[in-house]
Amino acid sequence: MVPWWSLIICFVTGAIVGIVALYAWWYVTYWIANKARKTKRKETQ
């Protein structure tokens, strides 16, 4: 019999991993976009 609190542990762990994954995705996306913008600005100068 699996204890009921294991559900909460799994939920919290899943949520933390999810937030980290989402933040990493947002960071990488922002970083790529920012780099592209800087390169474009340099080219136009």
Binding site: S6, L7, F11, G14, A15
Partner: protein, 251 residues
Amino acid sequence: MSKVAWYDVKGKGWLRDVFVLLHPPYTLWHLSYVPIGAALAPRLDWGLLGWTVLAFFLAMGIGGHFLDELNGRPLRTKVPTPVLGITAVLSIAGAVAIGVFIGLEETLWLIPCILFGSFIVYAYNLEWGRGFFHHDFWFGFAWGAFPAITAYVAQAHTITPEVVMIAFFALMYSWTQRVLSLQARFWRRKVVEIQGHYHLRGDGPVVPGVTTWGQRHTLKLEHIIGPPEFALQLLSWAVIAAAAGLLLLHI
């Protein structure tokens, strides 16, 4: 605002946004693979089936679709970004918790399924790896074959040739959906104007409803998106009916 999908509803506000975000026909479509897979097991545990459906609804129906909207706003909803992100993360975490609980109770073979599912829901929708996972095959596998296999493993604790064949059917069926949907979606969401005409051959057989042979006809958007969208509606009902029929075998 024009409709973003054939199941989009008129009106504005959060109710419309949430409705269209959940993609009701497609969510039902992909959830149907769960009972299809589960019904192949020699003995069907209805409670377990309910938990499996709930887990897939949370991860795919809510989590996946909310992440998809977060990534570029294809549905043009006004749901705030933090709401989309937090709802998606909590829904997927809920699905993981249910999955691990069932895995520890029933079979540890579910654990690899949970690991794959929780990875692919982010990787597909957020287009990780420069869009490597945002591909027809991964769509068919993740939202077709995978729910069928997972539901079967939860019930029967093993994999058999029968479920592999059904998983292949689910993969192909979902792939078909994506091909039709991409076509319709492109014309519906990306194209702002369409101009053109077509001429009918004058020597062909008479088609009901067409009496103007040889004349010039204006090309309309409905001519392009009508057939694939109607096919999608028919396919939705077909897979739901298949799931219901297989479940009836266990009553």
